[in-house]
């Protein structure tokens, strides 16, 4: 749809602008400075501070707010007339009245929009008969300090909290001079601590404790880089002084986040300078890990590799999905060429299997095929497996903005909500792990209502078997198995049929119950029904760690080569042989589930940032693997649980200390720039791999050559692909056992258990580990908040404090995933069936 242009006159000059565009934007594009305090491009127009007034000379005329006035044909605007300047001066005078002026001692240290405006416009001399409304500082929150005496009531914090973050923790209470930003019942701030309010505050009414510092804005270095805590790919502007963090601000003009950020990207950076950070290599001597030189440590590693080769033992390399794309490529290339070992991968990280075996096997590409634009543009978004609030905060804000700013629907289908259900059109609170059941039931329902949907798909592999397998999924059977009402399924089916475009979001997570592969396959099949053969456009898999997609793309995977080819793909192997000079092994590498069986045959286990004990669900047997392996090498920034079994520990750079790139959940490859400096010199993962290769007399190619190889083998971003295969649904699972209680595992917002648990700021915010249960069950078992409960499954038992939480589904108890090392993980013995536990009062 072409936008119609209108002509307006600005300061005597004719200007063309699209009809309906905000006057403020039109004026700013003309290079005209229009001051604003309450305006924010992330929010719907507000028009509260009246500093953006300009004079309209045509029609009714007068002073109008540019920030909330759309342009109309023939408008005549004066942007700097005497009336405009005087009005702004008056407005500033009113604002100054209720602002405690202490600029020289203020935390803003000159970095203040309000101060700038007062300097620019001045304020009238006369005094007005009002006094500053006195109010005490609110220092109840561990990170955010609120000073109501400085607040201008621009409302940006309140509006961001609701409209963008969807939290609504703060609001404007009372009116007139008494108006104040407040929480409900003035309780201490209890929110997601995304910091959006602090970053948006034009003055020092909101200040972040961790970032109150003596370094003024003009002395800081500001670098925009990709936040690599999760896979959202947010661009964050990190301000540093001598390599230390001073502020973290979301990049307003850059995607994908366009000015949004979460608690980790805001506050998590302190973990880099944690006291227990490793600075020198450690080597095991006489049973003890002792400091050693790099030379000694690397000699020990190459010696062990030589021994393993001589004994024909397995050499296994596990990177992480946090590695940079380049380092991951180097690691797998090192294993597949120098060591001729097929055993490389990144461990069992949420999203990898969904991408590789889910999307890869149905759509032919092991990638999400929808990105952020699809998430905001689709008519309907269906979110499966978990609430992205805790694991993928940017995806959450996209959903909130869809609902609150664009009025578009999304539907949640999972066991436990995290706050997003308030904005959802529909929330199907499922029995944990029943997402694939729901999707099969929906597919059956759609086919019953509109059999013609099948027409275009009948020739696709596996369609007939899939269609037959769905017959058991009647609406009542599905509803019963999922623990929802049939009418809820009916309503969702109608919504799906009515929507012109649908995006299905599959939240990956090792701790979340349910089979992510089956869910992804079922989602792809359902989408294929709805949209003919173009299901690829609408599937979004959320990988857990920052570079799940990138590490998979470059072949850090036991069954995939760079460019996503299967390891036994002869064409791909021949291509790699030409490029590498060595043909990669055709044999599939060990899968995480196979390590325990093979543990004794592992000569060297190289863990590049991987911790099988604290990071993996217990069922993979991390401890047994480490005990069985002959020689264990860890690359890590901290001594983790796995390091206790290590023979050599090599300290490395992490997060914002590294350079390279990550591929975010939307498939876009984004750069990491070096922002922070570790206290002492440290190598990056890739540098160690290069050095090991050199010491094994097989030097790796230059960095340029490696980058060129990656570019040749992997393409970003990818195009959509039609469905290629259907997988038959299993028999309808039995409804959840009534006598037992189902265990659900919830990822945490403030840390994900391993790396982020090192951040003091994030730890301070984390609630204590507790077992959460519904109020119904609390009454049933006569449990009070805070009481100790025993949660038992088989031989294992957890003793945890009870928290009554009305978000929890009755009949389910929720234990945090990764909240306390492997405690919750140890309960999760199988991935596709929810665990039945016994709950007793202690």
């Amino acid at each position: 749809m072409a936008e119609s242009l209108v002509t307006i006159t600005v300061n005597g000059q004719e200007v063309e602008a699209p009809q309906g565009k905000l006057l403020l934007h039109v004026l700013r594009e003309q290079g005209i400075r229009v001051p604003t305090l309450c305006h924010d491009d992330r929010l719907t127009p507000y028009g509260g501070c009246r500093l953006c007034v300009v004079e309209r000379k045509d029609g009714r005329g007068g002073l109008i707010p540019a920030c909330s006035t759309p342009v109309q044909r023939g408008m005549q605007i004066e942007s700097d007339s005497a009336n405009v300047v005087e009005s702004r001066r008056r407005q500033l005078q009113f604002l100054v009245l209720n602002h405690r002026m202490e600029c020289p001692a203020c935390d803003r240290r000159g970095d203040c929009r309000f101060q700038d405006l007062i300097f620019e416009y001045g304020i009238p001399d006369e005094t007005l008969p009002f006094e500053l409304q006195r109010a005490p500082m609110d220092e109840s929150s561990p990170v955010i300090v609120r000073d109501p005496e400085k607040c201008l009531i621009c409302g940006k914090c309140v509006r961001l909290c609701e409209e963008v973050q969807g939290v609504g923790a703060i609001g404007l209470a009372s009116r007139g001079l008494e108006a104040t930003v407040s929480t409900f019942l003035e309780r201490p701030l209890d929110c997601e601590f995304c910091g959006q309010c602090v970053n948006a505050c034009p003055v020092a009414a909101l200040v972040a404790r961790p970032y109150t510092c003596d370094v003024p804005a003009w002395l800081r270095t500001s670098t925009t880089t990709t936040c690599s805590f999760c896979s959202c790919g947010c661009q964050v502007q990190l301000e540093t002084f001598e390599g230390r963090p001073q502020a973290a601000i979301p990049a307003i003009d850059e995607g994908p986040n366009h000015g949004k950020l979460c608690v980790k990207g805001w506050l998590g950076w302190d973990l880099l300078s944690a006291d227990n950070r490793l600075e020198r290599p450690l080597v095991r001597r006489d049973g003890q890990l002792v400091e050693a030189s790099w030379d000694e440590a690397l000699e020990a590693v190459t010696g062990a590799i030589g021994k393993a080769r001589a004994n024909e033992e397995k050499i296994v390399g596990l990177g992480t999905a946090r590695m940079t794309t380049e380092d991951a490529y180097l690691l797998q290339r090192f294993f597949r060429t120098v060591l001729a070992s097929p055993h490389v991968g990144c461990g069992p990280v949420g999203g990898v299997d969904a991408l590789s075996e889910g999307a890869g096997e149905t759509l032919g590409v092991a990638s999400s095929t929808a990105g952020y634009p699809a998430l905001s543009e689709a008519d309907l978004v269906l979110v499966l497996r978990a609430d992205p609030t805790r694991t993928h905060p940017l995806v959450k804000t996209e959903l909130v903005q869809r609902a609150l700013q664009q009025g578009k629907d999304f539907v949640l289908a999972h066991g436990l909500s995290g706050g997003l259900e308030r904005h959802a059109k529909q929330y199907l609170q499922l029995t944990p792990g029943r997402e694939d059941t729901l999707l099969a039931g929906l597919a059956n329902l759609l086919l019953e209502r509109k059999p013609e949907l099948a027409a275009a798909l009948e020739n696709v592999e596996g369609f007939a078997a899939w269609r037959t397998s769905l017959e058991a999924y009647t609406i009542t059977a599905t509803a019963e198995a999922c623990g929802v009402e049939p009418k809820e399924l009916d309503a969702l089916a109608e919504r799906l049929l009515a929507a012109g475009s649908v995006v299905a979001v599959v939240v990956g997570g090792t701790g979340v119950p349910g089979d992510e592969v089956a869910t992804t396959r079922a989602a792809a099949a359902l989408l294929a029904l709805l949209r003919g053969e173009n299901a690829g456009e609408q599937l979004l898999v959320l990988g857990e760690k920052s570079n799940v997609q990138g590490t998979l793309d470059v072949g850090l995977h036991p069954s995939r080569l760079p460019g996503q080819a299967r390891v036994d793909d002869e064409e791909a192997r021949a291509h790699l042989a030409a490029l590498w000079g060595t043909k990669p092994p055709a044999e599939r590498g060990l899968d995480p589930s196979e390590f325990v069986q093979a543990a004794d045959s592992i000569g060297v286990l190289l863990l590049a940032g991987q911790d099988p004990i604290s990071g993996w669900p217990r069922r993979f047997g991390g401890r047994e693997i480490l005990e069985g392996a002959g020689f264990v090498v860890c690359f890590d920034a901290f001594l983790g649980a796995a390091s206790r079994y290590a023979d050599v520990v090599l300290p490395v750079k992490i997060l914002g200390e590294r350079t390279g790139s990550v591929v975010a959940l939307d498939g876009e490859r984004r750069s990491l720039r070096r922002v922070f400096k570790p206290a002492g010199p440290l190598p990056q993962d890739g540098e160690i791999i290069r050095e090991l290769a050199r010491r094994l007399d097989s030097e790796m190619p230059s960095e340029e050559k490696i980058l060129a190889e990656i570019d040749e083998l992997c393409r970003w971003p990818r195009t959509a692909s039609p469905i290629q295969r259907f997988f038959a649904a299993p028999a309808v699972p039995a409804p959840a056992a009534l006598e037992g209680v189902l265990l659900d595992a919830a990822p945490q917002l403030f840390h994900s258990g391993t790396l982020t648990a090192r951040s003091r700021h994030l730890q301070e915010l984390s609630p204590t580990v507790a077992v959460r249960l519904s109020a119904t069950d609390a009454r049933r078992w006569d449990v009070q908040n805070g009481q100790m409960l025993r949660v038992a499954s088989g031989e294992r038992e957890l003793l945890l404090r009870a928290r009554i939480d009305s978000n929890v589904r009755p009949g389910t108890v929720v234990v945090p995933w990764n909240g306390n090392g492997d405690s919750a993980a140890s309960m999760l013995v199988a991935d596709d069936e929810p665990v039945v536990v016994e709950v007793r009062r202690s």
Partner: protein
């Protein structure tokens, strides 16, 4: 959404940590059900907030915080958004109202006919300050500007009913009569 009603009382727990409401032994009757019914009968969005608050205040005489939280949940708002509206409009109140709203007219005509005496007497008899509520939650005492019943000065309003030509003795009797009426109503409902 099951269990939404558990916002009452101290067992409520927010997702991010302790969010305990002050314990309450006040019985709000079937107000939860009335809110559910209102919302079911009026499909729509957030525009239902103000009419619903009116309805609740009509029933309870004020807007208790646990009820505000319940209204928020029911309409998909955050509690502070509801409180923002409640605190913005002076019509809404968060302090409990008595069964009978006594408003002593302090307009010029009533004032010259000793309405101050009526106010003082009522304050003594009920044991409340102006603007307060009696311990038995039966009476609220307020003073108001002219109620337009100057011919009946001095006058007191009980709810929407005007009582004129009052003396200290007559207001004492009025209070007695209202107490009796409340007793009878309670007896009838018990």
């Amino acid at each position: 959404m099951s269990d939404a009603r558990t916002v009452r009382g101290p067992e409520s727990e927010g997702f991010f940590g302790a969010q305990e409401l002050p314990p309450t032994d006040i019985d709000f009757g079937d107000i939860w059900q009335q809110i559910d019914e209102y919302v079911a009968a009026h499909p729509g969005g957030h525009e239902r907030l103000i009419p619903l608050l009116h309805r609740v205040q009509e029933q309870l005489g004020y807007l208790p915080f646990p009820v505000q939280e319940y209204v928020a949940r029911t309409l998909g708002l955050s509690p502070i958004q509801v409180y923002g509206v409640v605190s913005f409009y002076h019509f809404f109140t968060t302090t409990p109202r008595g069964r009978f709203q006594l408003k002593v007219c302090m307009g010029t005509a009533c004032f010259v006919r000793q309405s101050q005496q009526l106010l003082d007497t009522l304050g003594d008899v009920l044991g409340v300050e102006v603007g307060g509520i009696s311990d038995d939650r039966l009476f609220n005492l307020d003073q108001v500007r002219c109620i337009g019943a100057c011919g009946l000065a001095p006058a007191v309003m009980v709810g929407n009913e005007v009582h004129g030509n009052l003396t200290p003795t007559r207001v004492k009797n009025l209070v007695k009569k209202l107490r009796k009426q409340a007793d009878e109503e309670e007896g009838a409902s018990a």
